[in-house]
Symmetry: C2
Subunit: 293 residues, 2 copies
C-alpha cells in the first residue's frame, strides 16, 4: 500500500509558499508527482532547478490534466480569477485548494461560480500561516510549514473526503490543521497579521518623512528592528491582502485607533496609572503567547 | 602605566543595565573597583553573587566616598531624585553619569539644581541604547553594550575632560559613542523607541479585549511575535519613560495617528495605489536599516 496522499498535484504559482510546498511534499514523499504552473517561464525554470517541482508548464489545461489535486498559490490578487479558471478546466474528481491569506472573498466567489455544485464541493479553501518578509521560490524551504498552523475554511457543502485529503497533505509536511468559518478567519487574521503589517508600514513611512529621519534610523535599536521587520514585506502583496480583506481590516484599524486614542488621552492627562494598567495587561497577554517562539 | 579608565566606579542601581555595565568593565579590566549601591539588599546580594560588582552597600554616602565616577542606573522614575542626591553627596572631583532613556528632564533638573556650577560640570548625561524586554541583574550580560550605541547629551558647561572619561568607559565595553542635544535625543528616541513600545502595548491590549482574543493569539504568527516582542517589557518602566518624555512622545503619537488615518482613508476608498506607495516607501527605508541586525 502506498503512503502517497496524492499521486499527482499541480502547484499553480511557484513562489515562496508554492515552492516550499513542492520541496516539502517531495521531501516527505507524500506526493509522487509535483507539477508546477506559472506565467513566467524564467521563474518556472528556477523552481525546476531548485527541485521544487518535477515538471513545469504555462498551460493551465495541461497542468490540470489528470491531476489529483490543484493548489492555487499565486499572489492574492490572482487567486480569485485563477480559482474560477481552475474550476472550469479541472476534472470533476480533481481536488482544488489554495494558500491565500484572505478567505471570505474566495468563499464568496466560489459560491457564485457558474459550475456544478459537485465541482464546488471539491474545493477546500486553506491558509497556511507561514511565510517571511522574503518572497520568491529562491526563499522557499522544505521546512517552512513544520509545526506551523494551517487553517481550512470549508463551506457547508464541501466534500468531507476532500477536506481529509487536503488535511493529510498538510500534515505530511509537518503542519497542524485547524478549521473555521471564512469570515472568522478573516477577522482573526485581519487583527493579528494584516493590522500589524499596516501598523509597521505606517511607522516606517511616518519616520521616513521626519526631518531627522536619518538620525532616527541611525539610533533605532533592537526593539525598532523587531517591531518593523514585517515592514520589509512585499508592498504589492500587502496592498492586495489589505484590499481583499478590506472590511475586516478597517474594523481592526478603527478599533486600534480607539485604543491608541486612550493612550494619547492618558498621556495628555499625565495619567500614569492608565498607561501602566494597559501596558501590564499587554505584558501578561504577550508573556502567555508562545506559539512559534 | 595603567589601562584603567577609572580606579573606582559606583553603580547606583544594579539591574539589567547597571549589572551589565559592572560585568562588562570587569571583563574589560577598565575599572579596578566596582561598587554597587541599591535599596534592596537581596538584589544587591544577587549582583554580588553574579560578579557584577565587587562590593555592595545601601548607604549612598559610603558608596560615593572617594569614588572616581558614579553611574546612576536606577529606573527612570528615580533617576532625577538620585541625581540631585548624588550631586549633594559626591565630592567635587567625582564624575557623575547615568543611563536613563530620557534626557531633557534630567538636563533641566541639573540646570536647576542648587549646587556649585563646578559640580554640575562634572555631570555627563548618557544613554546606552541597549536592553531587552527582560529586566533585573539576572538578565545582565558582559556583552550587552558590544557594538551598541551610547548617546551623550552634555550641556554647554559640561567639563570636556569628564565627557572624555565617560566616553572612554563606554568604549572600553565595546560601545560606539555619539553626542547630541538632550531635546533632540528625546525626540529621536521618542519616535524610534518610546512610540513603538506604546504601539505594541496598545495592539496586544486591544486584541486582548476582543471576544475572539483566545483564537487570535492562537493563530498569530511570526510577524505578530516580532511586532509585539517589546510588549513584554516592564510596564512600570515604560509608564515612567512615557511620562518622563511626555511631550516628545505625544508629538510622535499624534504624528503617527495622522499617518494611520491616511491608511484608513485609503482603505475606505479602496485606494490601492496610496496603500502600495506608502508600503513601498516603508519597505525601501526598512531594507536600508541595518544597525544591530
Amino acid at each position: 500500500m502506498s503512503n502517497k496522499i496524492f499521486h499527482s498535484i499541480a502547484i499553480l504559482g511557484v513562489g515562496l509558499i508554492g515552492g516550499s510546498l513542492g520541496l516539502a511534499v517531495k521531501a516527505a514523499g507524500s506526493v509522487a508527482e509535483v507539477r508546477g504552473w506559472g506565467r513566467n517561464s524564467a521563474r518556472l525554470q528556477r523552481a525546476l532547478d531548485l527541485g521544487a517541482v518535477d515538471t513545469v508548464t504555462s498551460d493551465l489545461a495541461e497542468v490540470l490534466h489528470g491531476v489529483d489535486c490543484a493548489i492555487i498559490a499565486t499572489p492574492t490578487q490572482h487567486a480569485e480569477q485563477l480559482l474560477l479558471e481552475t474550476l472550469n478546466a479541472a476534472s470533476d474528481t480533481t481536488i482544488i485548494s489554495d494558500v491565500a491569506s484572505v478567505k471570505a472573498n474566495l468563499a464568496d466567489a466560489l459560491q457564485l461560480a457558474a459550475c456544478a455544485e459537485a465541482k464546488k464541493a471539491q474545493v477546500v479553501l486553506a491558509h497556511p500561516i507561514a511565510g517571511s518578509e522574503q518572497s520568491g521560490v529562491e526563499a522557499a524551504s522544505a521546512t517552512l510549514f513544520n509545526d506551523q498552523r494551517v487553517i481550512l475554511t470549508p463551506l457547508a457543502n464541501t466534500r468531507p473526503g476532500a477536506v481529509d485529503k487536503v488535511s493529510a497533505l498538510w500534515r505530511s509536511v509537518g503542519a497542524q490543521l485547524h478549521s473555521m468559518d471564512a469570515e472568522l478567519h478573516d477577522r482573526v487574521l485581519g487583527h493579528t497579521s494584516h493590522l500589524p503589517h499596516v501598523l509597521a508600514y505606517a511607522l516606517v513611512d511616518y519616520l521616513n518623512r521626519q526631518p531627522e529621519s536619518e538620525l532616527m534610523f541611525t539610533f533605532a535599536g533592537g526593539g525598532f528592528r523587531d517591531f518593523t521587520r514585517i515592514a520589509a514585506s512585499d508592498p504589492r502583496m500587502w496592498r492586495e491582502i489589505s484590499l481583499a480583506n478590506r472590511e475586516a481590516l478597517l474594523d481592526a484599524l478603527r478599533g486600534y485607533q480607539g485604543q491608541l486614542q486612550l493612550m494619547v488621552d492618558a498621556l495628555e492627562n499625565s495619567d500614569g496609572d492608565t498607561l501602566e494598567a494597559s501596558f501590564g495587561r499587554a505584558k501578561t497577554a504577550r508573556d502567555a503567547f508562545k506559539p512559534g517562539e
